[in-house]
Assembly symmetry: C2
């Protein structure tokens, strides 16, 4: 259960705590040790007040006014901080859209008959998305539509006269207008990234507000990348529907070949799940009970949602999966993969298998993935795991006996489907009516990572408990979802304990209408971090139903333990979409009072959204409740 | 004359020294003061050993092994340094290609009849470039060809199945093969930038060699951006031919309306030159002798080459132009524009006019440029200057009486044209024969900026003197050209004093064949920093003539006082093209012995090129001479 365990200030997850103790006893250096060794962290970097964008630097500005107040080029603290933030947004956007582009290529190759291991799994979603992209669907084959859709997706990366379709067509009409008026509609995803890199070069943009607006536009390009990633993954691998599964290190099995898929893109991991079934016999021949596939981070979310694959652990505790000694292979694609994994893996006999050209790790085993030979590559990786199992068979392993029940897989389609059981004509009516009646006070999205600076999961669990008690409907993605699932927030039996009466009634009513034999879980698992797009889709659906823009909804977001630059770019699009957006760790912006003020206040006048930076989860929850109430009041509720 | 003036350790340029003294006496804080105030600079940043690519950081690795040897994520010093370098290359690539894209848009608008102020100025080059890009030219109008060419240029930014044309088609056939074999052919300029940003995200690429190879590929994309920039500018504004003009602060005129154009792109500055002629009367009515247009940095190089506009100053001394008190307006586009200009301008009564959306400066006057209303915008800017002149008229100004004669404008076409006067059938034969005979020992390109860490121009002038004495043919671009022109290296009368006998004979023979009444200048001015593409074009022409690849030529490059991330990306493509490439300031790579070794040695086995990092200009010149001799020996010379 949540955050009430004082054994360790490193993680509030008891399974992780066990493995931290083991690592300590074995003198294995982990992320927390590296964090401690890094203290004190650089105060200039922490506040955004250092710059390495040219060879005259590095420059540092003293936030206390004792040192230089300008960079060598004359850049002010405001400019320096805004530039740094922009590059983080560009990097986050590049990552999400890189993931989406990979899916677009996979779809294209599939449609061209070059990637036989893939097919259209959700023809209905293919048609819905294609229609949104103005691609004809009537009387056409899935394949033909997929070809056009993949081509349209790839076109969205390029600068063009028309806006990025995956941005402009996925928000409310009013929001599209607001973004157009503010110049925040991206022209092309890659284009905006490139433009940010130009703009933040030595001697280019030196107007902090201009820099921040460009950053927001790049953030909207990030929304496009995320939304595209979700759309294409659903079409290729199926749109998630609720599945019952489990989370935490206890999902590893001593007698099985344990394979963790880690990273983000389902393009390999989804196939791994299928191929693992074919390889069961080989595993049994090697003396194993079978192959036990588990997930880590967002590729874990992807295969959990679509196949019920358990999540082993998330984010900051990824090394701990290896510390069990039970993991035979960790097959990674890209993003959030700590290079340190290879060191822990070496100690514990796990093989780290990298698969993507752009994410190799010194010391790992590399199998170059290709869509054309996807199954074959998946088999190669599984064979490595089986071989490793043969070596470790009979050796002791330390698998914490901790597993939490999880109901996952709430795509927007699944949510609307469940609501349709309550009101078939107007599925959103039950939610909206309950918002109006106050049974649902508002909606909060929990997203983002675990950050080593926060005792793992603490912020998520404290905030979620408080908001649930206050009848806020919670949805979660990424390692935020991971944190909450490992602490029982996706276990329907905890609704009684966790939720306020109004919310409890709603979750129970929907559960009963769907004959689930109980309520929906306290927190709805929306998916991986690209699936923050699902949160936007949900908000847009509700806004359209109510006839208001998204900045009027009692909807808020929180990245309570953010790490990746992707969290920064997601935050940027949440703010561009009009949401009050909490970040629970310090962003490197405090060195500029101006930037801080623009992000936390002034931007509200432009987009309606704004950042709330608060490291205290209790007061952060209060602020989100206030923001929700303000929005409710605005709607006359 | 060069680098022998000990009055100041800030600049070896006597005109700049005068203004530094004035700034001191007026207590105006300049780049050198900000540099001193910044001491000591951060040793972590200096060696590439800090990272802010996620919110768990900032991380620092102690290069002396006393602190942590890994980042919190486990990234090694090698990974950290390679990531940082990659992002610098991506930024440089974004800047050059942003400049080129701007020209492509201008050409497209011109061809579509939307930008009446522009036209095809060099139809022959249009046809040459179009043919290289497989665009039909026979029987077609300039406009039709330009439309196709601009479209092809814009397509090169996008990921596609075919390589970036402006990269693949501009190198030797052998080099294209080498790059293809190494996976170094970019798929799209924006694509490669985006891919670098993805790859360098938290938890993605952690293989330093893999990171460096991606950086080199992005560098090749930078070559494409530069080459495209040069091609399109020549077509729209004319291919440079030699012009006689002057350089240094003495080109300002007390009684004229002085306007400096500063930045990089001729798209506005070239028009400013034309429009200034129409505005002469208005200036005279305001009591001025006329309008005196001068250039700073690369937009200065652009208008110097094409219109003989004098260069006022360059790079690190840009504030000094304002310190004269004689500058009425400084009209800037983008790149290398110190934000500090507005502060000095405020003291001295100059107006800084920004013109591009992506380069605003707090405190400057912004006129939003558009190709559709280009002349009108240019007039607006000139009117501001005239108004300012009215205010300062009669006040004292301090214009150092220092001007150096300059012969500039040696495009490859101009060089080949001059050589054709010696051998009409085989224009390159005279150069190649003289290389073979040893009259020309080799060729060195001087490129890049002035860096505040080096007494201004010191490295350039010491190295150039030494290499000229040793009969190395010198070409120069950017602020490297600026440095050399201000010290007399582009004055033909200095050939006798500066050049070894062999080189002197060659320069004189070519000068005589062209009836110049004297030799070519000691250093040939190739243009702005995108015009490093001209150096590549020249090397490729010679290589093709000799039937060898560019990595076999006795051709070297030096960025002796580099600043911008653009210098890093240029360095990357110089190395990819096979050139020994000197950098005269420290790159932030010393924190990784591996990265340092790859860049300065191992990469030689791949591309034939490599970096030489040496802060001592004397020994750097020796190393370049050695590299030249090694290449000569390789050719059996």
């Amino acid at each position: 259960m949540a955050g009430d365990n004082g054994k360790s200030n490193r993680s509030t997850d008891p399974a992780v705590q066990e493995m931290i103790a083991k690592a300590e006893s074995m003198n294995v250096f982990t992320v927390w040790d590296r964090y401690e060794a890094m203290q004190p962290q650089c105060g200039f970097g922490d506040t955004g007040l250092c710059c390495r964008h040219c060879l005259q630097g590095p420059c540092r500005i003293d936030p206390f006014g004792d040192g230089p107040d300008k960079a060598i080029c004359g850049a002010s603290a405001d400019v320096m901080v805004a530039r740094g933030l922009d590059r983080a947004i560009a990097a986050g956007t590049a990552a999400h859209s890189g993931h989406a582009r990979h899916l677009a290529h996979t779809m294209l190759k599939m449609a061209e008959g070059k990637a036989k291991d893939y097919s259209v799994k959700d023809g209905a979603k293919l048609r819905t998305v294609a229609t949104r992209m103005n691609i004809p669907v009537e009387g056409r084959s899935d394949n033909d539509i997929a070809l056009d859709l993949a081509t349209a997706a790839l076109a969205d990366f390029n600068e063009k006269d028309t806006p990025v379709m995956w941005a402009a067509s996925v928000v409310t009409k009013d929001r599209a207008r607001v973004l157009t008026d503010l110049g925040l509609v991206p022209k092309g995803i890659d284009y905006e990234i490139s433009e940010i890199m130009h703009r933040t070069l030595y001697g280019v943009d030196a107007d902090p507000v201009n820099l921040l607006l460009a950053g927001l536009r790049c953030g909207v390009a990030d929304l496009a990348g995320c939304y595209m990633g979700t759309d294409l993954a659903d079409i290729l691998f199926g749109t998630p529907t609720p599945v019952v599964t489990e989370a935490n290190l206890g999902t590893l099995k001593a007698d099985a070949v344990n394979i963790a898929v880690h990273g983000h893109n389902p393009v390999l991991s989804d196939l791994m799940v299928t191929v693992a079934q074919d390889k069961k016999e080989a595993a049994v021949s090697a003396g194993a009970s079978g192959i036990n596939m588990v997930g880590i981070c967002c590729t874990g979310n992807e295969v959990m949602m679509r196949h019920g694959i358990p999540s082993c652990t998330h984010s900051v505790s990824q090394e701990m999966a290896i510390m069990t000694g039970a993991l035979d292979a960790m097959v990674v694609d890209y993003q959030c993969i700590m290079p340190a994994l290879v060191n822990v893996a070496e100690c514990m006999g796990t093989t780290i298998v990298t698969t993507m050209d752009l994410c190799k790790i010194s010391g790992a085993t590399h199998i170059e993935f290709s869509e054309e030979a996807a199954s074959e590559k998946a088999k190669e990786a599984i064979d490595i795991a089986i071989q490793n199992f043969t070596r470790r068979k009979g050796n002791g392993v330390d698998i914490p006996d901790i597993r939490t029940p999880v109901v996952a897989g709430f795509s927007v389609e699944a949510i609307v489907g469940a609501l349709a059981k309550v009101d078939a004509e107007e599925p959103l009516k039950p939610v909206v009516d309950n918002i109006k009646a106050g049974n649902i006070r508002g909606v909060c999205l929990f997203a983002g990572c675990n950050n080593v600076k926060v005792p793992q999961d603490r912020n998520f669990t404290i905030m979620a408990r408080k908001l649930l008690e206050e009848n806020v409907l919670l949805v979660a993605t990424g390692c935020g979802a991971g944190a909450l699932m490992r602490h029982g927030f996706m276990d329907p039996t905890n609704v009684d304990d966790m939720c306020g009466d109004g919310l409890k009634a709603v979750l129970t009513a929907i559960g009963e209408a769907n004959e689930l034999g109980g309520p929906l879980p306290p927190v709805l698992h929306l998916g991986s971090c690209v699936d923050n797009a699902r949160a936007v889709a949900l908000a847009v659906a509700v806004a359209d139903y109510l006839g208001v823009d998204t900045d009027k909804l009692p909807v808020v977001a929180s990245a309570a333990e953010a790490v990746s630059e992707k969290a920064v770019s997601i935050g940027a699009y949440a703010v561009a979409a009009g949401l009050p957006t909490h970040v629970g760790v310090m962003l490197p912006v405090l060195g500029s009072p101006l930037v801080t003020q623009v992000l936390t206040d002034k931007v509200k006048d432009l987009t309606g959204g704004y950042f709330i930076v608060d490291l205290d989860p209790e007061s952060a929850a209060d602020k989100l409740l206030n923001a929700i109430d303000e929005r409710r009041a605005g709607l006359g509720l």
